[in-house]
């Protein structure tokens, strides 16, 4: 038996011992993937759908995912993919080599490949192989993660990713245990700091009224310490999986809490994950002008609408707006016309 060093669960692995996520084993005394290069789906989308609001705005990306997860979130939106035994999924998984996946992205005119269906750390070697090929093809690599990797795992992610959206779901040990199935948030806070040193980081928090909403102020203080330019996406929780019968959180109440928590501390705050959100535009941190406009179609459906930047800065007051990567050429053309 050896210990898996990919995430903080540090599961024992053996030839027939697979760990919590059931995606790794150790048939030869080393951590190996059980299902390398096996994908549950891929789709063409835009960076805003992930969401990335401050990285390659408007760029088309290939969204990919595998199977399995190292968390047990009570509200998992993809439970039908990530909560079932990955071995039982293999009959419907796609077998696509890194070279073919990058070719798909290129054929579809994608600027980026983003791993976002399930937790990327459970397929880290596959992701690394894709990243190596993507890099030579000039593609951007991104992911959504729960941020629970070990320092070694985080370093591996940071080395291959151009942008990461980390989910900071809650702070208290009770919340982590009851809603996520892990003992504490410490590794996630550590990894947000570490990743922000090496790559572009945005942070997402699904807000559950009365459950983690009282922690928003503390989360904002932490993020402001990482850097006031870290974009923060507060999500209205979509009750799925074990929470399907629960009420939807109140937009008005949660919106007010988010605003109160973040005022004056973070430069880029968004509140979305529901149709028609009014809180998806980027406001200039200097003067409050809407410099990037978006539509919100609810979970995974945000769209870039217009960019009003002048050389990356607010056209009204000249304040620079924190962005990683260039703006999609079609959008830039639209913005100049």
């Amino acid at each position: 038996m050896i210990r898996c060093d990919v995430c903080e669960r540090r599961c024992p692995l053996g030839p027939d011992t697979y760990g919590y996520c059931r995606m790794y084993h150790a048939p030869r005394g080393q951590v190996e993937e059980r299902f390398p290069d096996r994908w549950c789906a891929y789709a063409t989308a835009r960076m805003e759908t992930i969401p990335f609001y401050h990285a390659w705005p408007g760029a088309r990306c290939l969204v990919v995912g595998t199977a399995g997860c190292n968390f047990d979130c009570r509200y998992c939106a993809n439970a039908e993919v990530v909560k079932v035994d990955p071995a039982g999924q293999q009959d419907v998984m796609l077998d696509v080599s890194p070279e073919d996946l990058v070719a798909v992205a290129r054929k579809r005119g994608c600027r980026a490949i983003v791993f976002s269906v399930n937790e990327p750390t459970v397929s880290l070697p596959t992701l690394e192989r894709v990243a190596a090929v993507a890099k030579t093809a000039g593609l951007v690599m991104g992911c959504l993660t729960n941020g629970y990797a070990t320092p070694e795992g985080t370093a591996r992610l940071g080395a291959i990713l151009d942008c990461v959206n980390v989910s900071l779901k809650g702070l208290s040990p009770e919340f982590c245990r009851d809603y996520l199935g892990v003992p504490d948030v410490g590794p996630i806070l550590r990894n947000i700091k570490d990743l922000a040193r090496t790559t572009h980081v945005e942070v997402t928090t699904p807000v559950i009224e009365g459950i983690n909403s009282h922690e928003l102020g503390e989360m904002v203080d932490f993020l402001a310490g990482v850097g006031p330019d870290v974009p923060w996406h507060a999500f209205r929780l979509l009750p799925e999986y074990k929470m399907r019968q629960e009420d939807y959180p109140s937009v008005a109440a949660v919106g007010a809490q988010v605003e109160a928590a973040a005022r004056g501390k973070l430069n880029y705050v968004y509140f979305h994950n529901f149709i028609g959100s009014r809180w998806v535009n980027t406001l200039c941190p200097g003067c409050g002008e809407a410099v990037i406009e978006r539509h919100s179609l609810g979970c995974g459906g945000d769209r870039l609408q217009a960019v009003h930047l002048d050389g990356g800065a607010c056209p009204r007051c000249g304040e620079a707006v924190a962005l990683r990567g260039d703006i999609d050429p079609a959008t830039a053309k639209e913005a100049c016309s």
Binding site: Y248, L297, G300, V307, D328
Partner: protein, 380 residues
């Protein structure tokens, strides 16, 4: 200007449907519709009460708006059979539930209801992956049967010709010829269209396991109340004729073919030649317009090309322009559409008011109500 009321439960935003920009709007009809969708949250695509939601919303609109025509879709069983592991008895209960909701609407509204089954679902066998081709294959989340093919090499075409799961590969010219289109009609057609054999499906964008998939059927059932129709494109003129004497509702019951159709029925052609419609936007549009719509909507179109920042109708799925010649446009009296197939009922029915779920990939975001016409209503 068409208005969209986006209802995310206890929170609403009204926007200009074409631009997506917020609009301050009020008036008797806007207030009535906003109140209605606010009171009737969407229960979810696979919720057992999902088809009842359609009937309830439609009945309230009948009461408050007094339409002469209603375009309804009942789709819960389509989602459930497709994505849930159901027993035979559970499947039948879902289908029975859909027809019970249709029957309740008919009984309580007094409308003459014409029921159309959009085609049977069959067990999903094995996913077909076309990504190993030199060219590009495109299918969409809700179209598992057809893929568009672009820049295919000779080797690709040979591979597909010998592929055990591929039923048909048609060149664009063949599709244009089959449907009598000119070169100019082919802008949204793929260079080739690939159709898979029964039970096989194209996997690409669907995250969830597919348990059943639509088997595009050459014929679909139409309840005999309508009189004889040879093709799904004949349903519209027959409905317009029936409207001279009756208040009429068209109820599309999704995922149901002739074998499960419990009412007296006749069959009508569901396509032409080798092409049969999958349940969904293309089929609904063909029924609404009374003409084939494969040039406008087909599963092989590179849908993501339209997903740009300047896309018109950002809340209308793949649509980037309003279809013309829809059945709603042809009806001078009041018309409504209600359905649980999201984001396109309001576009392809053309009815004065459309209330539909706003669910994306089964994620329940709420309800969207679209008001195309306010001029026919003075309040009630």
């Amino acid at each position: 200007m068409s208005l969209a009321i986006l209802d995310a439960r206890e929170w609403q935003q009204t926007v200009d449907l074409r631009t997506g920009q917020p609009r301050e709007a009020s008036g008797p009809l806007v207030d009535m519709v906003a109140g209605l969708v606010g009171r009737r949250p969407y229960p979810g695509d696979r919720d057992a009460t999902c088809n009842d939601w359609v009937a309830d919303v439609a009945l309230e609109l009948v009461e408050r708006y007094a339409p002469r025509f209603a375009f309804l879709s009942f789709s819960e069983q389509f989602y459930s059979l497709r994505h849930s592991p159901l027993t035979k008895a559970e499947e039948q209960a879902r289908i029975d539930g859909a027809f019970a909701a249709v029957e309740r609407f008919a009984r309580e509204s007094g409308f003459t209801v014409v029921v159309v089954g959009t085609g049977e679902l069959v067990p999903a066998a094995v996913p077909v992956d076309l990504e190993g081709l030199d060219g590009l294959a495109v299918s969409s989340n809700w179209c598992a049967h057809y893929a568009g093919l672009y820049d295919a090499s000779a080797a690709d075409l040979e591979k597909l010709a010998n592929h055990p799961a591929i039923a048909h590969v048609a060149a664009k010219a063949d599709i244009l010829s089959l449907f009598g289109g000119s070169q100019a009609d082919g802008e949204r057609l793929p260079e080739h269209m690939v159709a898979v054999k029964e039970g096989h499906y194209l996997k690409g964008t669907s995250l969830r396991r597919l348990y059943k998939i639509p088997q595009p059927s050459p014929v679909i059932p139409v309840s005999t109340k309508l009189g004889p129709v040879a093709s799904l494109t004949d349903i519209r003129p027959a409905l317009l004729k029936l409207l001279r004497t009756d208040k009429v509702a068209l109820a599309l019951v999704e995922g149901v073919g002739c074998r499960q159709f419990p009412l007296p029925y006749q069959t009508c052609a569901n396509g032409r030649g080798w092409f049969a419609y999958e349940p969904g936007d293309g089929q609904f549009l063909a029924i609404s317009k009374g003409q084939h719509s494969i040039f406008e909507h087909n599963g092989g179109y590179r849908y993501y090309q339209d997903d740009t920042d300047d896309k018109a109708y950002p809340y209308s799925g793949f649509f980037s322009e309003m279809p013309t010649g829809t059945i709603g446009e042809a009806i001078a009296e009041r018309s409504i559409a209600v359905g649980n197939r999201s984001m396109f009922m309001h576009m392809l029915t053309g009815c004065d008011i459309a209330c539909e779920c706003f669910a994306r990939n089964l994620y329940n975001q709420g309800v969207m109500a679209v008001i195309h016409r306010q001029d026919k209503y003075a309040g009630k």
